[in-house]
């Protein structure tokens, strides 16, 4: 086993464990912390794939902005009082977990067998396409229209968030 593989397995194991902890912790704030951890591990996995820009954007946007928003909301609503949300293991949950396990096995079998050959090596171009320069070039030429539309989406989200979260007076 090469060092790459060992690193990958360590990262994969930590990301899976932290993801499981996210959905099993009772207190949402602990879930937020584990999710941030999971996102940072994913950013490191992106770095091993030479996607530097995506890795750093992952940390800035997900860990630095979105999850701070989650943390903020959890702290604001003060959901620390556990009795407000007692969750029981019902039959529904057992079915859900069973279905999810079946689904993941199906997906894994699917990707390993039916789609035929997958490349086993990083593309030689991988180190180039992950850089900021290349991403910028592609984003502002080939994907310019989607980029502009994304800005409209963000504007709509800003307005929506303000309207929804505003306290109605009177």
């Amino acid at each position: 086993m090469s060092i790459d593989t060992i690193v990958f397995f360590i990262l994969a194991a930590t990301s899976i464990i932290s993801a499981i902890l996210v959905i099993t912790r009772r207190s949402p704030i602990i879930s937020v912390v584990y999710l941030v951890f999971n996102f940072i591990i994913l950013a490191i996995i992106y770095l091993t794939l030479h996607a530097q820009f995506i890795a750093v954007i992952q940390v800035i946007v997900y860990a630095g902005a979105i999850m701070v928003l989650f943390l903020f909301v959890v702290m604001l609503l003060n959901l620390g009082k556990e009795e407000m949300l007692t969750e029981k293991i019902t039959y529904k949950k057992r079915i859900a977990i069973g279905l999810a396990v079946v689904m993941s096995v199906q997906i894994i079998i699917g990707i390993t067998t039916s789609f035929g050959e997958h490349p086993n090596q990083l593309s030689p171009l991988a180190t180039q396409i992950g850089t900021v320069e290349h991403i910028g070039k592609v984003l502002f030429t080939q994907y310019l229209l989607p980029f502009e539309i994304a800005s409209i989406l963000l504007l709509a989200a800003i307005i929506g968030a303000v309207v929804l979260a505003k306290k109605r007076i009177g």
């Binding site: 207190s27 704030i29 602990i30 912390v33 941030v36 530097q52 820009f53 750093v56 954007i57 940390v59 800035i60 860990a63 630095g64 902005a65 701070v68 943390l71 903020f72 702290m75 604001l76 850089t131 900021v132």
Partner: protein, 338 residues
Amino acid sequence: MEILISLIKILVVMLVLLTCVAYLVLVERRVSAFIQNRIGPNRVGYKGLLQPVADVLKLFIKEDIVPKLANKPLHRLAPIIAIVVSLSTIAVVPFGDKINLFGYEIKLQIASVNIGILYVLALTGLGVYGIAIAGWASNNKYSLLGGLRSCAQIISYELSMGISIIGVILVTSTLQLDKIVEFQHGWRWLILLQPIGFITFFVAIFAETNRLPFDLPEAEPELVGGYHTEYTGLKFGLFFLAEYANMITGSAIVVTLYLGGWQFPYLQSSGLPEFWTSIIQVGTFAAKVGAVLLFMVIIRWTVPRFRYDQLMDLGWKFMLPLSIANVIVTAFIIYLFE
């Protein structure tokens, strides 16, 4: 060999940074004493020079108290996040050009990464967690309020910080901090090309480091001690260390982006031996960072604190539009001149 050199660089930088933090605290206390017409700590060692040692020793032997209703793992985790984030920012800051030592050419920067500034932005984004989690985990309303305030403040000012950085990137067309410094040779300092960007960035750095006039997360009269009310001993020491380390890295980044980094005008053409050129460059960098730090300290003891709504107004209604305008104007000028 490469790895060994990197390890030595990391070790040296960390040692220097931590010593600077210790003495920055002393400088801060002496300057505040001077401003308030007091004497300040002058008993430990010659003129108080060993005061930091005494402070650290005191923090070490203090009892570590965790509140009974605190969330213990998170209470323990928060100072660790704060310190890790504040110490790792320094990794991309170039503190000199190259130096020839024992036959090896050593680049005076721990890591020159392709994503340079974005790395700094990512880490400042993560810095929120230490404070916010500390506030929540202490289970104290003052701590929680301090944590929430700091969250809101850092997020708000991160925007104007990021957008003023865009101006720098537009002018230098690179994200790597060492290349940005190389761009500023001679007198082409970016403070002259980007004066408005400099102001918004510097104000944002004040807000990010929770310094007065933006120290609302720990405003003593209202919030006791803010997010670190419930911290004692070493954990409090870690927060303290993180705050001052943030100050140093923040001013190092201001110097790198806007004040020419290690550039000393006309030094390269003066014909000094290469070794001494490198030494002078490192010295220049240190002097610039020291000047910015002194400025921050003086501001802290001479300017009153903002009210919370004034802080938010300043961030969203003034700094953000100003930095956006700066980007637009910069883009137009570059477009016209090319």
